[in-house]
């Protein structure tokens, strides 16, 4: 795997992770979290953990995000921090 790609994904993971906890909108945070999970999934498939990557793609980026969106829809998008 070219190291540039690896580096790009690692940087993106950290940026999206920080974004997920700083964005001032819960729906945005949920979507950012989905993106974070997807980046993680890419990272793990690069590292050869295909089963874990598959699970993370279906659970982290898929169902977890849906749960978040459902909960945000049932509560509120407003957040102070």
């Amino acid at each position: 795997m070219p190291w540039q790609l690896d580096l790009a994904i690692l940087t993106l993971v950290v940026i999206v992770g920080i974004g997920a906890i700083t964005v001032k909108d819960l729906l945005g945070a949920a979507i950012m979290f989905g993106a974070y999970s997807f980046m993680m999934c890419l990272l793990w498939s690069i590292m050869g953990a295909v089963d874990v990557a598959f699970t993370e793609a279906s659970v982290g980026a898929g169902v977890s995000t849906v749960f978040f969106v459902a909960a945000v829809f049932r509560t509120t998008r407003r957040t102070k921090d």
């Binding site: 690692l10 993971v13 950290v14 992770g17 920080i18 997920a20 906890i21 819960l26 945070a29 949920a30 979290f33 974070y36 999970s37 993680m40 990272l43 793990w44 590292m47 050869g48 953990a49 295909v50 089963d51 874990v52 699970t55 993370e56 659970v59 982290g60 169902v63 977890s64 749960f67 978040f68 459902a70 909960a71 945000v72 049932r74 509560t75 509120t76 407003r78 957040t79 102070k80 921090d81």
Partner: protein, 131 residues
């Protein structure tokens, strides 16, 4: 100085995992919004999963699936050719646990919101104190 750079480069995955873990832990302690804390909790858990996957990594190893499956009984399988599958197994379990925790946490969050109409912890505490 050169040594330090060597150490940093040789173990960069571990540094990334520590960074992510600090982000998650900080969000869980410092954030005021209940759902934000749950996001932090998930980042924290994924960071630990990244750590375990990094343990299993082998340079020059391939995916943990025996090549040409059934006809291969006479092929000798060398451990060094395949990535360590054990951390992957452990982390499948950890992912499942994290989604289970997420479900319960969101259910509790919805329950709190039903009662107080807000997700900010300080506003909820102010409402409790008022009574």
């Amino acid at each position: 100085m050169g040594d330090l750079v060597q150490v940093v480069i040789a173990k960069y995955n571990y540094w990334i995992y520590i960074t992510l873990m600090m982000i998650g832990l900080y969000a869980m302690i410092a954030k005021n919004n209940l759902i934000k804390k749950i996001v932090g909790m998930n980042i924290f858990q994924t960071a630990i999963i990244l750590f375990y996957i990094s343990i299993g990594m082998k340079k020059g190893g391939t995916l943990p699936i025996v090549e040409h499956g059934h006809g291969a009984h006479h092929h000798a399988v060398h451990a060094a050719d395949y990535i360590n599958p054990l951390p992957h197994v452990l982390m499948l379990t950890a992912i499942v646990v994290s989604v289970a925790t997420l479900g319960v946490a969101l259910a509790l969050g919805v329950k709190v919101y039903n009662r107080y109409n807000t997700l900010e912890e300080d506003e909820i505490l102010a409402q409790i104190r008022k009574k």
